[in-house]
């Protein structure tokens, strides 16, 4: 089995390539203009959905809780969270516009960086900020339902209710987030990390 055999076979597949392309040639620009189904495009789409959902949520909070004494805290917390994550995400995605024109090693390294950052961002959002927002929301609900600071004379009750509900919420978030994050980033991180590691050999990488 000589190498030139493989070269010849490889060349023969050019015929199939031309036959396949003939069927597309007329519409090639039209096809190229279609929506991408890449993971980066999916991340962009998700980012847009998150930002739009944020706007809707804000409008609802503004409508229902404008008179709540804790509204200022929630507004500040939400605004920082919204602007911070939105801007961070936008900046990050812009940096990766040319990711596919880089050489393969640099591109994989950049993809890994992008996925890891997004993964950490999602973790921070789901595991830390969401429970904080939940606790804040709990107190807002308590006050909106006629509760007063004076009524919090037995804080252990509040602590108990909060701890229990946060635990239930955390378990639910932990379970669903793990599934979502693996689908969104985990599978790519695993696979690309393997390719990245296989392309690295200390004495060889440029």
């Amino acid at each position: 089995m000589e190498e030139f055999d493989l070269g010849a076979i490889w060349k023969d597949s050019e015929e199939s390539a031309n036959a396949y392309y003939e069927g597309l040639e007329e519409n090639v620009v039209e096809i190229a203009r279609r929506q991408s189904s890449s993971v980066v495009q999916r991340m962009k789409r998700n980012a847009w959905i998150e930002l739009l959902a944020g706007v809707v949520l804000w409008a609802a909070i503004f409508y229902w809780f404008i008179d709540n004494p804790l509204f200022g805290y929630l507004a500040g917390f939400g605004l920082v969270l919204y602007l911070g994550t939105g801007f961070g995400l936008y900046k990050m995605l812009m940096r990766f516009r040319e990711i596919n024109s880089m050489n393969v090693f640099d591109s994989i390294t950049a993809y890994l960086k992008l996925f890891r950052k997004s993964y950490r961002r999602a973790q921070l959002l789901m595991y830390v900020l969401l429970p904080i927002g939940y606790i804040l929301g709990f107190f807002m609900g308590f006050l909106a339902a006629g509760g007063t600071i004076e009524k919090l004379q037995e804080p252990w009750k509040i602590v108990l209710i909060l701890s229990f509900s946060v635990l239930v919420l955390a378990a639910f978030i932990w379970f669903t987030t793990r599934k979502y994050m693996y689908w969104m980033y985990g599978q790519y991180i695993e696979e690309l990390q393997e390719i990245h590691d296989n392309l690295i050999e200390e004495e060889f990488v440029q």
Partner: protein, 171 residues
């Protein structure tokens, strides 16, 4: 711009086909990947400044797209692009058709074996089969040409083993 893009793709359509076939074994995945490569090329075309060769740019975009491409799950039909192409040829029993079918089988087998290699190995071996020098492959892959040489030697050995196991000699 559209005309230039179309001209470039027409000139280099073989690269797209070979890369898509090396990374997708089923017809539907192949179609998806081929289309995604076209989309990515179109999106990065305005930023292509001509500093690198057109083919280098195409290889980079196509390989990067293929490496992050995930197959859609639960396909019912598992027709390979080759099988689909072969179905178009008339089975009239002539020696020409028999020759073409044997040739197609060999191509099919080669891609089948390439599909079994690790993703980065597929990239390196297809660049090698395309006749790219170690330097050009290194430029596309972002590793040194020495390392390309070392990797190619290992991959070729593995590819030959796979081909032997699948009865390449008998075709």
């Amino acid at each position: 711009m559209e005309e230039t893009f179309k001209h470039i793709i027409t000139e280099h359509n073989g690269i797209l086909y070979k890369i898509a076939r090396s990374y997708a074994s089923e017809q539907a995945d192949f179609d998806d990947l081929y289309q995604e490569i076209l989309v990515q090329l179109w999106q990065s075309f305005p930023r292509f400044e001509g500093k690198a060769k057109v083919s280098t740019w195409i290889y980079r975009v196509a390989l990067n797209t293929a490496l992050t491409f995930t197959k859609k799950k639960k396909r019912k039909l598992a027709t390979s692009p080759v099988t689909a192409w072969m179905a178009d040829t008339v089975e009239d029993g002539s020696s020409q058709v028999a020759f073409e079918q044997a040739q197609q089988k060999r191509i099919d087998l080669l891609y089948q074996c390439i599909n079994e290699l690790a993703k980065e190995e597929r990239a390196l071996v297809l660049l090698h089969l395309e006749g790219k020098s170690y330097e050009e492959s290194a430029d596309i892959m972002g590793i040194t040409s020495n390392y390309v040489g070392v990797k190619i030697m290992r991959i070729k050995k593995r590819l030959f083993t796979l081909l032997s196991e699948k009865g390449y000699g008998g075709i």
